[in-house]
Amino acid sequence: MQVPDVFEYERASSVDDAIALLEKHGDEARLIAGGHSLLPMMKLRLAVPEVLIDINDLEGLDHIRIDGDEIAIGAMVRHAALLESALLAEHYPIFADAERVIADPLVRNRGTIGGSFCQGDPAEDLASVGTALRGSAVIRSSAGERTVPIREFHQGPYETAVGDAEMLVELRFPIRTHIGSAYAKVERRVGDWAVAAAGAFVQLDGDQIADVGIGLTAVGADGFTCPEAEDLLRGGPATPERFADAAQLCHDLCAPVTDQRGPEDYKRHLARELTRRVLHRATARARGEES
């Protein structure tokens, strides 16, 4: 059976303690929350950290709550909690859409939103959800907290804005009115990573699209999104034709890579097809036509 290489184990008692441990051990230390991304890589010895800092004891990072005009989600919130959150279901059903197709219930019991964001996998569903919603990430270090737009959080495959001795502590999403949101994913089998997926929110002002956000998963979309498609839609009428035009832009501007999940042309097709579908569903939800 595959086993990780040797490392030292530390258990952090607070966020400050975790950051102090990161500072103490330098860049060979990694935080571990659910461990469902990191441990498999360690078993394959693709990741060989010298120190693991267990942050499962940390308190105050497992909230999903309204904070001012935003929804704040602690970094240690497990996927299962995101799936079941009534607050998120009310404001952003896109979370439940996505969570329902992330891994499986047991993995969702362990994996955390912070872990998913920090892993930075190009096929990570929550990354494109966060991108679609134009949320922000709160990152803490011993120098204090800084807030980074999620659209600047992911800096490349497996690279994020979280620096050495920093820790992602919270994700924040603006509360919007007259909106709907949705996520759609094609996978080879339940629990698999996405062949491709798309998420969107649509904010209506009458029949006009006041604002829109699009997230694209596993199709090599720059920054997990397609701003050109958003710009095309914003301020115009919410019609099938315009959705199709925006979806076509996603198709044209993404840069998927062929792998065993599918060839490049198929993934490009899915970027279009799924974008079109989520725009329709998000709009229907905004209109109260669909739950």
């Binding site: 059976m1 595959q2 086993v3 290489d5 040797v6 010895r45 499986d104 094609v186 080879r188 089998r189 339940v190 629990g191 698999d192 990573w193 062949v195 062929t258 792998d259 065993q260 999940r261 599918g262 060839p263 198929y266 097709h269 899915l270 097809e273 799924l274 579908r277």
Partner: protein, 799 residues
Amino acid sequence: MTTTEVPTSAEGNPIGFGRMHRKEDARFLRGQGTYVDDVTLPGMLHGAILRSPFAHARIVNIDTSAAEAHPRVRAVITGETLEGLGLAWMPTLSQDTQSVLATDKVRFQGAEVAFVVADDRYAARDALELIDVDYEPLDAVVDAKKALDPDAPVIRDDLEGREDNKIYDWEAGDAEHCAEVFDQADVVVTQEMLYPRVHPAPMETCGSVASMDPVSGKLTIWTTTQAPHAHRTLYALVAGLPEHKIQVISPDIGGGFGNKVGIYPGYVCSIVGSIVTGKPVKWMEDRAENLMSTSFARDYHMTGSIAATKDGTIQGLKVDVLADHGAFNGVAQPTKFPAGFFHIFTGSYDYDAAHCNVRAVYTNKAPGGVAYACSFRVTEAVYLVERMVDCLADELGMDPAELRMKNLLRPEQFPYTTPTGWEYDSGDYPRALKEAMRLAGYDELRAEQAERRRAFEAGETNQLMGIGLSFFTEGVGAGPRKHMDILGLGMADGCELRIHPTGKAVIRLSVQSQGQGHETTFAQIVAQELGIPPEDIDVVHGDTDNTPFGLGTYGSRSTPVSGAAAAVVSRRVKDKSRIIAAAALECSPDDLEWEHGRWFVKGDPDNGKTIQEIAFASHGNLELPEGVEGHLDATAVYDPPELTYPFGAYICVTDVDAGTGEVKVRRFIAVDDCGPRINPMIVEGQIHGGLADGVGMALMEVIAFDPEGNNLGGSFMDYLLPTSMECPSWETGETVTPSPHHPLGVKGVGESATVGSPAAVVNAVLDALQIRSADMPLTPAVVWRAMQGSPLRNDLAIE
């Protein structure tokens, strides 16, 4: 046989055939099964295998010094070590040889290179990192279609005189007659198809714990084997150990499906490790090792042609196969049949022209081919004919059910000899197909499909619907000793039955359950024959020191062969019990009648003796007729006169999202005829499992290779198994056509659904799309590409 005739024991179990809880479940439910990895011996060490990262490379040097210096490492074994013992190569089950630890070259990614023995499994794993192997990479043969190109590298340069990668050409049927029929046929449809490389992937991987007692010279090996006796004999032949000094114990096995028939290098390494260190050595492969190195299944590139009249009377079927066997010919099958039972490809239909040619080649991939509940390649055969019949229906514009019904063999044709020489024992095929269509509501489904198609064409929906059929006939229960052996070992099974003085019984079997419920089914056979309650019968299996010889469990052979042996041995006991009962009742055995475990005097039902009373009397001082020994114990060896031929009709209903290519199996209706069902609950469970296999293979399972020969299915993240979400709620039905030559009339069922179901799923998807062909697995990408008319090739890296 109806269950209402069967009396019930004090514990509520049928004393004979019928539904009852499984006896083995008590330990499994409590987590108290004993699988190989649960075996721990005093002083036990742990082994790990270093495997090749290359598909084809020459080994220049192996430096093990750093690994040997690891403080917890006890031994590092290489091919060189084994060469000294004459064990670097071992015979395969197909008269080829296979490298145990590579000496000259590695021939597939994952090939065994070195074996580390350490104090614990973590240290053994760590030490693998410390072995430095200098490889000289060679071009790899990845595409079977290029294996015989003139410039293809020769993989088996270890074999004397070998100048290419061909293993064999083999044919069956009458090519000349076939050519005549095809020349004159109204319609000929030709179709290429691939049954891709898949893997049985049982939940428990393969492994062994070997313990060589240096004093007694006895080797005990706990191992994941479906065929403990065959393994014992092979170890004796391979290692030169005396066979009576080898004990193979197959404890609880976490699924086999053919993955645990062969002998793998890791087993041999654990034995050598124990000999070298003087300690017991455990080796358990991880999942990647299981998927990358142990027996895969299928990998048949097939080109079929079917001939028919224009009104849909099938006249002939021929097929050319390119079989990818990997780097060693390691398939497990009866010696006479290098392509297994593939030549049963004529299927369930009435025509007389058939021919197949199978060309097998070496490639730089793991060895194997016959596994995954395939009934010795009946799976590939059924897939071929059932796809070809659908291609013909498409060509003729006929309903595939109507076409099948028109051509199915009729009940009065049995016993039926096929154009390639199989003798089907019994069957009522139209009845099974009608029953499946009735359960499915076939006409209503077709009406719904037509409406859906209309809506799709009108742009109202992107959901298409398909209905797929498959009708299969299997040949199982290998096999008659005059025709079938593996490495010279005939395929007959021994059985021993001991009746204790108090009437409790112990039956000893050579076959080995991997989940099939033998401890229950075989007790029920004895119960049926002798009237002893099943809870009073202990079933012993999986230990070569305590069971008679037999070739093991695969090819759905346990009930057809060992089940018959159990019936025969029970009848011997019963015959003897009659003599003893007659002595006790002071009458002639001819005056006795048998009912429900009791002999009684004809016309005087109160005057009788139960089997339990007779058992006690057989050990007592009762005066027995001259020549009759006491006790009731008996033994038997069953040599099946013929195979048995279970069959079935399957219907699959799928919904296909034409926008994304996603497939959902909505319903699956399976009507199986395996003869009488000993325990209907267990039989249905076997069918359920096979149907899930079919969905898995049809929709997601495949091991592909990139141009360098890297295995692209080496973990459960890449090799996808169906979950509860892809499987519908199975709808099962049955017809019962007993086998005329089996003592119990039973036909075997373990592999039926795996064999029969993939074609139904594929036919359903293609029916939805109105496309003639696409190869498994029908992933969303494959379906979408097929819809675009640019199909993907599933055995290679997607380009």
